[in-house]
Structures are given as structure tokens and as C-alpha cells.
């Protein structure tokens, strides 16, 4: 899941800066009947929900699952420290965009080697879990971004949910009045902002492997125009995805870009009557290309205990059975990755159906650029931040971003 930035990570990161240097070990006891999982389910409800699904799968196999949960932004560094002390868990649940970093180390087991059934998954989910043509991670459910809108505000303005960029700009203008902006998105200089920029960047023809291919500028211009029209707040450059949702719920934005993980918050409040539409595209009839997000489960290599790897694979196979995927997807408001489960999900949750369609055409951030993604992400963030704050023109910003990305490769 592309999570809202967590404040706690700051402190933890600072502490991790020191501890990463020192030898830290917390060797897990290799009890043969237990499968250990490292994930980010620090929230009690999330932790329990995970445990429930793990137990459901482990009991019939005569196994037990033990979760080790740390804040989402520290999973990667925690996993690295565990790896250095040879105490990695049997299952590692990472954000999809972090998978290449781990797969690239050679420390993960290709899933087909341990008997994981990887057929019947959507292409986007498979690509989210793959690195260099090999599948290392499996996603139970995935998310993406869509346009969420305030039904009442659109009705009052006599507007329809916009389908193209021109309509988006017009509708946003029309919806802006008084304290309310027509549109809100996150343009923060981190993963949140980049995640939200990608559907525009990609739908316009932008290419993360060649940022200055001449087609990414259109998305920058669209964002900049909407800021200049004053139909998006200038504060968007500071907003993470959570802030955007807060603005929407407070009635200060009539439309927003956001993901299905906001559904619980949106359903709990009754101020705003909302609905989901697909992300607007440059020209009518085109397919939107949003990013695909979510966590993937991977199995670290365990040379001393091949049976541990097999046990982990059995659990993963069970978690990804159609029924379990569907139940899990409904629990976390994400779209199941098996095409069959996704179809049933769309039928049972018609209000979230646009997400199902979007996920089908969605693209993985790391499919093309793999381990270089963090550097490119940074360069992309720099480009929209400098354009939105009037520091540079779209063309120049992307040229600079490309040279940054190329420098980072060395």
C-alpha cells in the first residue's frame, strides 16, 4: 500500500542511522513448526486481521505463524539488519517498490522454485512482484489511484466527473469557490507526491527510463495550470496523501486523487457524499495509466532450512487462493490480484469498481528501472516541485531530472 507518510519514521530513522552501523542481532528461534513474517502491520486491527488470515492457512498445515511488525518505512532497513545477522524471517512483506532492491541482492528465492502457484494473476500484479524477469514476490491485493469527488458539489455546479485533462481543468475551475478548491492532489517531494504524479505523467506518455523524452512535460503543465488557475491550493507541494484526504473530508476540495486505503476514513464520516471515478486522461478514449501499489510477500533464501522455504510457500499459496484473496481485498479495500477474484470484487463492491478497472491497466514503478527507482523517484519529485513553485519550466525541469537520474546510476 502506498501509505501516508508516517511521522514516527523520522525518529526511528534517526535511531536506525546509528544501529545500522553496529552489529544488531535478534536471531529468531528456528522452531520448525513456526513460520515467521516481517511486515508493517503495527496497527492492532491490521495485525489481528493479518493473524486471522495467517491462522486460517497455517492451522490445516499444522503450522504456526508469528508476525514481526515494524512501521512501514522501516521494514526495509529492519530486513537488511536481519539479513546481516542471518535472522531474516521466513516471509518478508515489502512495499512493491522496494522489492527490486532486495531481489537484486540475490537474497530472495524465485517463487517458482519453491512451488508457488503464480498463474491466474493479473499482469500488473505479476510485474509488481518481479525483478529481471523472475518473480520474487506475490501480492494478495493491490491498490492504485483514482479520482474521488464530492457528489453534492458536482451536482450543485452542474458538473460531471471529468474524463479528459481539459475537462478536469474546466471542472476544477467551475468547482472552485470561496473556501473550496476544485481539486486536490499530493505534490510532496517524496513517494506520496510521485505516486500521485505518475498517473498524469504516464498517461501523457512520460517515461521513467527517459524522463526527457519530450512527453512528460504535458503532465507538469497540467498540474502547473491548475495551480495557476487557483483551482488547486499552492499548499499541494506540502501535502501528502493523508493531507489531501483531510482537505476533501473537510469540504475544502471538491475532487481529489487518492487511493482505496482512504475508504475506511471516507466511509466513517457523513459530511461528504463521495464517489469514485477513473483518472482523467489527455484525450477521450485513452486508457489511464496509474501506478500500481501494494505490498508483496517474498521468501528469503534459507540455505540451512529448505523445508522452511517450502512451508512459507505453502502459506503463500493458501493466502492467494481465490476465496482468501477476495476476503482479504474486501478487508483492506484493495483489489485482489487474481483476475477471477478481482471480477467478483468489482461485482460485490460496485462503488469501488473504477479501482478494479484502473488496476488492470496500472503499471509497476519498478518494472522498467528496477533498483534505480529510488533515484528516479527523487528526480521526478524535484521536477514537479520546481515547476509548481515557478522555479523552472517543464522542459528544463525534466532535462535536469534526467541528468540527476543518470548521475545516480553511476
Amino acid at each position: 500500500m502506498q501509505r501516508p507518510a508516517r511521522r514516527t519514521r523520522l525518529i526511528v530513522a534517526a535511531a536506525a542511522a546509528l544501529s545500522a552501523l553496529g552489529p544488531t542481532g535478534c536471531a529468531t528461534t528456528p522452531d520448525p513448526g513456526t513460520v515467521t513474517v516481517l511486515n508493517s502491520a503495527t496497527d492492532a486491527a491490521e495485525h489481528d486481521a493479518n493473524q486471522e488470515f495467517f491462522d486460517r492457512c497455517a492451522k490445516p498445515l499444522g503450522l504456526r505463524v508469528e508476525q514481526i511488525s515494524v512501521p512501514a518505512d522501516t521494514v526495509a532497513s529492519k530486513a537488511l539488519r536481519m539479513a546481516s545477522s542471518d535472522s531474516l524471517t521466513d516471509i518478508l512483506e515489502l512495499d512493491g517498490s522496494e522489492l527490486p532492491q532486495f531481489a537484486g541482492t540475490g537474497g530472495l528465492r524465485p517463487l517458482n522454485e519453491i512451488g508457488l502457484n503464480t498463474s491466474g494473476f493479473s499482469d500488473s500484479a505479476t510485474s509488481l512482484g518481479s525483478h529481471d524477469g523472475e518473480q520474487y514476490g506475490v501480492a494478495r491485493s493491490v491498490n492504485s489511484l483514482a479520482l474521488l469527488y464530492n457528489k453534492d458539489m458536482l451536482r450543485e455546479a452542474g458538473a460531471e466527473p471529468p474524463a479528459t485533462w481539459d475537462e478536469l481543468r474546466e471542472t476544477a475551475k467551475k468547482l472552485t469557490s470561496g473556501d473550496t478548491y476544485g481539486m486536490a492532489f499530493s505534490a510532496s517531494p517524496n513517494a506520496d507526491g510521485v505516486y500521485q504524479f505518475l498517473p498524469f505523467f504516464w498517461s501523457g506518455g512520460g517515461d521513467e527510463a527517459q524522463l526527457d523524452n519530450g512527453r512528460g512535460e504535458a503532465a507538469l503543465e497540467l498540474w502547473k495550470n491548475m495551480l495557476d488557475d487557483k483551482s488547486v491550493s499552492a499548499s499541494a507541494v506540502n501535502w501528502n496523501q493523508q493531507d489531501v484526504n483531510d482537505q476533501f473530508v473537510a469540504g475544502r476540495a471538491a475532487m481529489m486523487i487518492n487511493g482505496p486505503w482512504q475508504v475506511p476514513v471516507l466511509s466513517e464520516q457523513d459530511e461528504v457524499d463521495w464517489a469514485v471515478a477513473t483518472i482523467p486522461v489527455p484525450e477521450a478514449g485513452q486508457d489511464a495509466v496509474p501506478p500500481i501499489g501494494g505490498t508483496v510477500m517474498a521468501v528469503p533464501k534459507n540455505e540451512d532450512g529448505p523445508e522452511r522455504e517450502r512451508n512459507a510457500a505453502k502459506i503463500l499459496n493458501c493466502l492467494n487462493e481465490e476465496e482468501n484473496q477476495l476476503a482479504w481485498g474486501e478487508r483492506v479495500n484493495n483489489v485482489p490480484t487474481r483476475a477471477a477474484a478481482a471480477g467478483r470484487y468489482a461485482a460485490e463492491n460496485p462503488e469501488l469498481a473504477p479501482f478494479v478497472d484502473l488496476v488492470a491497466t496500472a503499471r509497476s514503478r519498478t518494472a522498467q528501472v528496477g533498483t534505480r527507482w529510488p533515484v528516479i523517484q527523487d528526480a521526478l519529485a524535484g521536477s514537479f516541485q520546481s515547476v509548481l513553485t515557478g522555479r523552472s519550466e517543464p522542459g528544463a525541469a525534466l532535462k535536469r531530472a534526467q541528468s540527476q537520474a543518470a548521475d545516480g546510476e553511476k
Partner: protein
Amino acid sequence: MSTAPSSATATARAAALAPKPTSLRGRRSVLRRLFVLPALVYMALFFGYPLVRNVLMSFQHYTPKTYFTGEAPFNGLDNWRAVFSDELFAHSLWHTAVFTIGSLAGQFTLGLALAVFFSRRFRLSGTIRAVLLLPWLVPMVVSAVVWRRILDQDHGILNSALQALGLTDSGVPWLSSPSVALLSAILVNIWIGIPFNMVILYGGLQEIPRELYEAASLDGASPWRTFRSITLPLLRPVVTVVLVLGFMSTVKILDLILALTSGGPADSTQTLGTVTYQLSFLQLDFGQGAVVGNVLILISAVFAVLYLRANRADFGTGK
């Protein structure tokens, strides 16, 4: 060390019974060294080792792979060259300097003014002083989140107040304009740092003998003259402590900036701290991250040496 006192008394008792003075002296000096040992081991383990590792790391190609394979090939000056050739490094160095100097100047001036103000005792001075400590007690990240709301361009209370006073029409883009964001970060950091400065300086003021002020007032010195000729010179050692400690905690700022602006907009609030974080924990290039970390350590070390020197001058040679 729980055993140290008992073994010390035991040795002392043994020493009292021992007839030979020479062996007594020898044993004593060994004992003295033993007392230093835990501190030495602690320093070596928790300061020496990480420091050496961090310096080494900056000359290594240290990536996620290293954690799995244990291999971190040395790559000479590659990391250093990559970091120094990135214009972001120069910018962040400049931002760090501006942020540090601006924060210290503001914190110190306001802290000193408040300390002097509260050193005259008046009704409720204790209570008000306690309230002023609040920013210090609130976790930095919480302060940052609250300030983000206060500084919001459209709905923040600061802009609402300024608009009500007719000082601005459209609201100041506190955090959304690259030319203002660093200033905003400094202002927030000043707010956070005032209590620390005030408390330490207030303590220093209490140490200054009252008689000196009485003598000055008998001589007819003006308040400003008294401040310059008595307060400031006698407060000097405390001022050094406050400034150096303030410097060291400000120069490595990370949490406040990340929570306030994430280094944006358009990298205008990137500091050495945020660049280290970005390189090490987002790009997972620990070698390059270590380079920036080392630069920070070096800067702090220079000021630590200056501080120790000033300390020696103020308090004698430590006899």
C-alpha cells in the same frame, strides 16, 4: 557497575591492614585505572566503533547487497566525488549554515531576553516560566505537525491573523514557496529552542552575585551598562555552553524538516541531515550517505574542539 563500590571498600580495608606502603601505592594505581576502564570500553564500543565504521563506509560501495553477502568493496573516492559533484550538496550545506546561524541567533537573543526578564522575580513568574518550557517538552515531530497547520497558506491561523490585521491580502506562502520555507523552518526552530536557552541562561544569571548589581546601582550605572559590564561578562561561560550545545543539535536537524516540508518545496529546505537520510534510507546508498554524515561529524567536531578550548579558558585547566 554494582560491584565497584563494594570491591573498593574491600580493597580500602585491605589497604588499611597492609603493612607495605609501596605495594599499596601500586595497587592503588591499578585500581584507579580499573575505574576508568568501563568508561573506556563504553566509549570505544559506542562512539569509537560507529565512527570508524562510518568513515570506512564512506569509502565503500555499501548497498543492500552488502547486508546479505557481507561484501562492501572499497571504491576509493567515488562516493565523495559523487556527493560533492551533486549541486544539492552545496545547496544543503548553505541551507544548513543559514538554518543554524538563524536559529541560534533567534533562540539565543530571545532566550537571553526572557531569562533577564524572569530573573526579576514577580508574581506568577514561576508559572509563566513553566509554561514557556512547553515547546521543549513537546516532541519535535508533534511541534512540526502543529506548526504545519498554523503555517498553512489558506487556513492557517497565522495567515488568518495577518489578514485580520490587514498585513497581507493573499496570505504568506510560509511552507509552499521556496523563498520563504527555510525562513519558516528557522522560525519554528527558534520557537522550539527558546526554552532551552532561557533555562540555561536563567540558571547562569542566578549564579551572578547580587552584590555586584547593588554596587553598580550605587555607582549610578544604567540598566544597559549593568547588562554589558556585569551580566554579559559573568555569563560568558554559560553563553558558550548554550551556543555550542545549540549548534550541535541544530546543525544535524532532520526530524523537524522532514515533518514540516520533507526538504521541499523544490529542495529549498534540504539540509545535510535530510540529504543523509535521503541517500542512506531512501536510495539505500549507505556509502554516499556516510559521506554526508562524515561531513556533519567533522563540522560538529570542529565546534566541539572550540568549545573544549573555551571551556578550559573559562574554568582553568581542569585542576
